[in-house]
């Protein structure tokens, strides 16, 4: 039953073969066995590991963080406490991002409320004028939204 080729694994886990090879390069997957002709051969444990990666991504971990979690998982010296600490850190980071996005939203809502929404020339739109001439107020963010 063992000995899946990369295409089959990709199908089972629903990722692309490129992604699997990419994870291997990134160190998220161990180098698999090979057939004589050089084909990668995966076992059930690799499928499980890939599913782990996918689920961890879905709840917001980056690939680097997932690599850490995977390392924790197999390190006997690491405890539940270590895992909990990472989860708590992640929650704190997410909280900060939410707060920042809410600040963006407040700033935008304020601008939007000032809009007449009519056919006034864009150059005289309160939004444009605010950006052009004045402080937009309480948004002190240093991080562009695109980085979040």
């Amino acid at each position: 039953m063992n000995g899946l080729k990369i295409g089959r694994v990709a199908e089972i886990v629903e990722v692309s073969v490129d992604t699997i090879r990419f994870y291997e390069r990134r160190g998220l997957l161990p180098e698999p066995d090979r057939t004589d002709s050089g084909y990668r051969v995966y076992a059930r444990g690799d499928v499980r590991r890939l599913r782990f990666i996918k689920k961890a991504q879905e709840i917001g971990f980056s690939l680097n963080e997932i690599a850490e979690l995977l390392a924790l998982r197999t390190d006997d010296r690491k405890t539940c406490e270590d895992v909990q600490r990472r989860v708590q850190t992640k929650i704190a980071v997410i909280n900060e991002r939410i707060i920042q996005l809410e600040a963006f939203r407040r700033a935008l809502s304020r601008l939007e409320a000032a809009c007449t929404g009519d056919s006034t020339p864009a150059s005289e739109c309160p939004v444009i004028e605010a950006l052009d001439d004045e402080s937009v107020g309480s948004c002190k963010s240093q991080t562009p939204l695109a980085e979040m």
Copy 2:
């Protein structure tokens, strides 16, 4: 009073000279005049435009979006309504991201609550087990956090 060199503009607006040249390549700034020796020469209007860019970034616009806003600003055919529509779209996008992050946070909080936080081996930590074996539940997100 006019005729600032790039270093002075960078100082005034508090961005790097590299950033200014980068914005020029990106089309956010027009190609400035040059001295005989090829130095860029900026006028007050350029400083204002740079400040516009900075403020728009602070409230969450990407450089592409800012380019659009700048184009609106100087296009006589565009109205306050056009600007308002863009702001509303941006607010909607931010709302979605907030909702998604809140889903991440819920999923993580649930996991964290299951943690004993003690010296149980990490491999038996409920968080690891959840990622390893079961569905983590209601988080249906397709978007990794890192993309947000």
